[in-house]
């Protein structure tokens, strides 16, 4: 059964006040906190390793699958493999996310490898939120790896957010995009205290008329560290754009390493990267509306990461 702390985590990472309708799988401290399957969405345990297979029947439209992971046992660590097989012509939303509540002194860690097979002409929105809390000294660690394969004409939008409380994270995403397929990644990240976060996107635009847009917005506060790496390889007639925009505060450090590589005469690739503190004139403008400097700063960050 799910306790109050776990309910709170589910609300934060998955907007879940109660059990969702449709297919879901709740993983709590490595165990099964609840599962529902539907006619169109099958969820099965893997037999050879921890994790699940989510199989969505071709042509499924309008369904949302929730697969949150929560950990509130200090010292618990896990490595989970989830595969998503999304049939042709689907139009579905997948809400994943991981919340860790650590009141103890030991490290709690969730490492996950999510592999997507997006079928021909299928459309997937994948939302992933990472969050940590708890007043223990034990660190909260998440290392998500996402592997994306999009077949001809497919479309996947990945919205990945880490707002608070994760002490250390290595976020790796690898994608291969086929003919007429598109990948959009929107990352939002905030680090504070002495947290560290690295992001590493590699997108292979293999198909004719394939496209990718990788956008990252981040805020680094206090003594935290962020590293953003994005690599788009244009291997065919394709268009790719990568953009990293970071606000740096206090004693934080941010590095951005955008890389684009055109291996085809018709590959069109753009990268943009900007790091800077909050502009003084932005603070002044909001202060002339009656906000204090701290309130102005908060509004600017909230807007930036919205």
């Amino acid at each position: 059964m799910i306790n109050d702390t776990e309910k709170q985590l589910l609300k934060i990472i998955a907007d879940m006040d109660s059990l969702p309708t449709g297919a879901y799988n709740i993983r709590a401290n490595g165990g099964l906190g609840g599962r529902n399957t539907t006619e169109s969405v099958q969820i099965r345990n893997k037999e050879d390793k921890p994790g699940i297979d989510i199989i969505i029947r071709p042509g499924t439209k309008g369904e949302t699958v929730h697969i949150p992971v929560i950990i509130d046992k200090s010292g618990y660590t896990e490595m989970v493999y989830n595969d998503f097989i999304i049939g042709e012509n689907c139009d579905v939303t997948i809400m994943a996310g991981c919340g860790i509540h650590n009141c103890g002194d030991d490290e709690s860690r969730h490492d996950g490898i999510h592999t997507f097979f997006v079928g021909k002409n299928a459309k997937v929105k994948y939302i992933e939120r990472h969050y940590g809390e708890g007043d223990g000294n034990g660190s909260k660690v998440m290392n998500p790896t996402t592997v994306i394969n999009i077949a001809d004409g497919g479309y996947m939008e990945m919205e990945t957010t880490q707002i608070k409380g994760i002490d250390s994270t290595d976020r790796i995403t690898k994608a291969s995009v086929a003919d007429n397929a598109t990948l959009v990644i929107k990352e939002k990240l905030m680090t504070h205290g002495v947290q560290r976060a690295t992001t590493d996107f590699t997108v292979d635009l293999n198909g004719e008329n394939s496209g990718a847009n990788v956008i990252s917005r981040s805020v680094a506060k206090d003594d935290s560290f962020q590293s953003f790496k994005s690599n788009i390889n244009g291997n065919n007639l394709c268009s790719g754009h990568t953009e990293c925009d970071a606000i740096i505060m206090d004693n934080a450090k941010v590095e951005a390493i955008p890389e684009i590589c055109a291996n085809h005469i018709d590959a069109s690739l753009i990268h943009e990267a900007a790091i800077g503190k909050i502009a003084g004139e932005q603070l002044i403008k909001l202060m002339t509306l009656g906000l204090t400097e701290q309130q102005a700063e908060q509004e600017i960050i909230n807007g930036f990461l919205k």
Partner: protein, 245 residues
């Protein structure tokens, strides 16, 4: 009432100290006051001093008799001073509705935000959810900036060249906005402007040139002399007016 007493401001430049404002004393009663004068004369500096963005080298600023010279930007805003920037600031992620809500001090409804936008001639539905970022044109930003001051509805509303960057078609709308503001907003509406049509709807006009208050009085007394171009300090102004026609 806003009152400036003996305001001076000097800034360090490559050639030593430069006096930007020299001993300016002005009383802004309720009504519509236009501040005009040649470029580089110190008008925008004066506006920033009123808003608290820069501190005067000497002199006092009084709001309803209270000395606010040492108060911060935030404190002055909370006491009732609003300021529309000459060059509005862009924000990534903050929407037009967010900005107007922040200005009004509460989470306003979409209908109310639309009301303020309509007043500045923007088709509200197209704008409320847009980000105040570089996707907006200079003219759109200027009008949103004016809408934030309308949303605040304070006793002192200060506009630094609201017409700059606005096309001729929108300028007609803008004149209507200010005419209407005159009757609805109340308090002191202070507009820094080079535009004869804005000066024409003012109750009083102040002329600032080379850091000095050259003239201050009723529009009917100031404007004829100003536009006659007999005063060399104002020839620049008339050039501007000619250029804008």
């Amino acid at each position: 009432m806003l009152e400036l007493k003996n305001i001076s401001f000097s800034a360090d430049t490559e050639n030593g100290k430069k006096e930007i404002l020299k001993n300016i004393s002005l009383k802004f009663e309720d009504g519509f006051i236009a501040i005009t004068g040649p470029n580089g004369g110190g008008k925008s500096t004066l506006a920033k001093i009123i808003a608290g963005i820069i501190k005067p080298t000497s002199g006092k600023i009084l709001l309803d008799g209270e000395d606010i010279t040492e108060l911060s930007i935030t404190e002055r805003a909370q006491k009732g001073i609003s300021f529309a920037f000459q060059q509005p600031v862009r924000f990534k992620g903050i929407t037009v509705k967010d900005l107007i809500s922040l200005a009004s001090g509460k989470d306003i409804t979409v209908a109310k935000a639309c009301d303020y936008l309509s007043q500045v001639g923007l088709c509200a539905r197209d704008y409320v959810d847009r980000e105040v970022n570089s996707s907006l044109s200079g003219g759109e930003l200027k009008r949103i900036e004016i809408a934030t001051v309308l949303a605040r509805g304070t006793k002192v509303s200060l506009f630094d060249e609201p017409e700059a960057g606005i096309d001729l078609w929108s300028f007609n709308n803008l004149i209507n906005v200010f005419e209407k503001m005159h009757s609805t907003l109340g308090g002191s509406i202070i507009i820094i402007s080079h535009q004869e049509r804005i000066l024409n709807i003012a109750d009083k006009v102040a002329v600032i040139s080379a850091g000095n208050l050259e003239a201050y009085g009723k529009k009917s007394d100031i404007l004829p002399e100003l536009l006659s171009a007999s005063n060399p300090a104002c020839s620049v102004l008339t050039d501007n007016l000619e250029g804008a026609k």
